[in-house]
């Protein structure tokens, strides 16, 4: 009898938050998909390595005193002429390719994350406003979204970048470039958030809790951010994950085209651009290793995004 009582008691006790998390559908679908686990491991490894770059890297590629031009163009360790100090070889300035990849991933990921956050904030705010107020405000915002979505993001990002070049001229230093990149990539990806948020806001705004809030005289801004926002923000996580991969690609492409981060503060795209010049000389490691890192990062983030979309959207199962 005592055993049975214990079992009943165990059933009655509310499961802890942690337990609930481990038993959830999302985690179940995560554990079931080997591809997703692999993608999560790859993403986690790259992000961790990027965060710990100053600890792991054998060399600080930004510190010119540590670089020696004599050590430039060294092939990876396993090739003839390799040097144990340069695991994946060195580039044209004598920078260790492994270290530059760590620092480069750092740049790529931070620009990717910042611009995704910026795009999400812009899109969510505009979507809330368009959906809640309707009328000409709505028409204006959504037409702007329509027009923008007919253009590829990369063109918009290039245009913003070109404009900043004209505006800043010679004062375009490295920290300005970072924020210009965040701005230009962010501006090119807000449309999807705005459309989704607008759609769900249209549904939410006629619900009773919104009407009640309006009735007791809460100002619209407060209704939008305190009451409507929490109810429409769910799908944003999925869009943001998929957009993160796109933002990283866009940043890499801009940097590759020579419109992004300069070669003194390289991102993965800049590294590939530097390496491209030496491809024909047989020095493949300068471009190919950052390329593989970029591909692995984007692919695994994409896979995570796909999984998240399926896991959070039961209709698709």
């Amino acid at each position: 009898m005592a055993v049975q009582d214990n079992e009943t008691a165990a059933l009655l006790v509310r499961p802890s938050r942690l337990r609930a998390f481990f038993d959830s559908d999302i985690l179940y679908s995560f554990r079931r998909s080997r591809v997703t686990i692999a993608a999560a491991i790859v993403t986690f490894t790259i992000v961790l390595a990027a965060l710990l770059a100053p600890v792991i890297a054998t060399q600080d590629p930004y510190d010119l005193r540590q670089l020696s031009i004599i050590d430039s163009h060294i092939p990876p360790v396993w090739q003839e002429g390799g040097d144990a100090r340069y695991l994946l070889g060195s580039d044209d300035q004598g920078r260790d390719v492994f270290s530059t990849i760590l620092y480069g991933s750092r740049q790529s990921i931070s620009i990717g994350v910042m611009s995704t956050l910026f795009a999400a904030m812009l899109g969510i705010v505009l979507g809330l406003i368009a959906g809640y107020f309707g009328g000409s405000v709505d028409a204006f915002i959504m037409r702007a979204a329509d027009i923008q979505s007919t253009f590829p993001a990369i063109l918009i990002a290039m245009l913003v970048d070109g404009t900043s070049r004209a505006l800043f001229g010679n004062q375009r230093n490295d920290s300005v470039v970072f924020w210009v990149m965040v701005l230009s990539i962010g501006l090119s990806f807000w449309v999807q958030y705005a459309r989704t948020v607008r759609g769900s806001t249209l549904v939410e705004k006629s619900k009773d809790y919104v009407l009640a809030a309006r009735l007791i005289g809460i100002p619209p801004a407060l209704i939008l951010f305190r009451h409507v926002l929490p109810n429409v923000i769910g799908p944003m996580l999925v869009i943001a994950t998929i957009n993160l991969a796109l933002a990283v690609i866009t940043e890499a492409t801009l940097s590759f085209l020579g419109l992004g981060l300069p070669s003194t503060q390289p991102s993965l795209g800049t590294l590939i651009q530097i390496g491209q010049k030496y491809l024909f000389a047989g020095e493949w490691w300068i471009a190919i290793f950052p390329g593989i890192t970029l591909a692995a990062l984007v692919l695994s983030v994409n896979l995570l995004g796909d999984w998240l979309r399926d896991a959070l959207n039961p209709r698709l199962r």
Partner: protein, 325 residues
């Protein structure tokens, strides 16, 4: 139907005007056009004279109207870098981009459709899984990286195919073509694959999805029951009905191909419009930037318009759905 067409055309005109407003704002307010055109030794009076001649002292709406009027007549002024008319520079590079876009669209269709049909019919075969994995990689890899990997594989490692330029070109009137020379065709292979790979994976997934949908339909079962060969059912009945959405997407993607060509052009040093635009952005050559922007916008809007209208012709339901909100 007429109302639908007129509404769509009005929309297209509004979009084009908005883009020209952006292009005009760029040209007029980002940097001083006069400073860009004259040398450092030009006197203040000469500058004022030039400003007057260019009409920069007029009211902004008048300037904008003039800008649009000039743009319609394809007059975009002179490039800051080259000091020659922008339209000549663009016309010179237009054929290169169009041929590249055409070749990659053909590649995407000719490879993507069969792959899509195959993966839909043989759903669990090993080859299908290989195709699907490849397509996932194709969607995830940035275009420039695909280009570099191809360069590394073919010209550098295997010493096959050229890695830059257009090869020999023939001039026919104003159009320079690389389609008619052996070296021109060889030079086209890698850029076309690089540019078309993304579209190919897109088309493959689309055809696969549509085919799987159609193969479940009753008329396919009926065709099988009539004892028609698999070939006739799969290609004569099923594929034919998947092609409408494929044509739409391909049409819409044609605009993206032209825009994305600039990345491929940069990797392969292909002398097209994209490379011109890229150099213009790097050197803040605003007349080229705004002209390219307008041109791409016009191409986009025109293609969207044509696709919309074709779609409405093919599928009458669209005409009813497309009432203004």
């Amino acid at each position: 139907m007429l109302a639908f067409i007129i509404r769509r055309m009005l929309q297209a005109i509004v979009v084009t005007l908005t883009v020209s407003l952006i292009a005009f704002t760029l040209f007029r307010f980002v940097g001083d056009p006069v400073n860009q055109m004259v040398g450092i030794e030009t006197s203040a009076e000469e500058r004022a004279q030039l400003r007057q001649d260019l009409g920069l002292n007029d009211a902004v709406p008048i300037q904008f109207t003039r800008f649009v009027g000039n743009a319609v007549r394809l007059n975009f002024g002179n490039s800051y870098q080259f000091k020659t008319p922008v339209i000549d520079l663009i016309a010179d590079r237009f054929p290169a981009t169009m041929e590249l876009a055409l070749a990659s669209a053909l590649f995407a269709l000719l490879v993507g459709i069969p792959m899509g049909v195959y993966t839909a019919i043989n759903r669990n075969s090993l080859l299908s899984n290989v195709f699907l994995t490849v397509s996932l990689v194709g969607i995830s890899l940035p275009t420039f990286l695909i280009g570099i990997l191809l360069i590394f594989l073919f010209p550098v490692t295997l010493h096959m195919l050229p890695s830059f330029g257009r090869g020999e070109v023939l001039r026919i009137g104003f159009w320079s073509t690389g389609f008619l020379t052996a070296s021109g065709l060889k030079a086209l292979v890698l850029p076309a694959i690089t540019l078309g790979l993304f579209q190919m994976t897109l088309i493959m997934r689309l055809v696969r999805g549509e085919m799987m949908e159609v193969l479940r339909a009753d008329y396919i079962k009926f065709a099988r029951a009539r004892g028609l060969s698999h070939r006739a059912v799969n290609f004569g009945h099923a594929l034919k009905n998947t092609l409408v959405p494929v044509m739409t997407i391909t049409g819409l993607q044609l605009g993206s191909i032209i825009a994305f060509a600039l990345i491929t052009e940069s990797v392969f040093q292909w002398p097209g419009m994209g490379l011109l635009f890229l150099k213009a952005v790097q050197n803040v050559d605003i007349p080229i930037m705004s002209a390219y922007l307008l041109l791409v916008a016009t191409i986009f809007v025109t293609i969207n318009l044509i696709v919309d209208m074709l779609y409405a012709v093919v599928d009458p339901r669209i005409r009813i759905d497309a009432r203004p909100a």
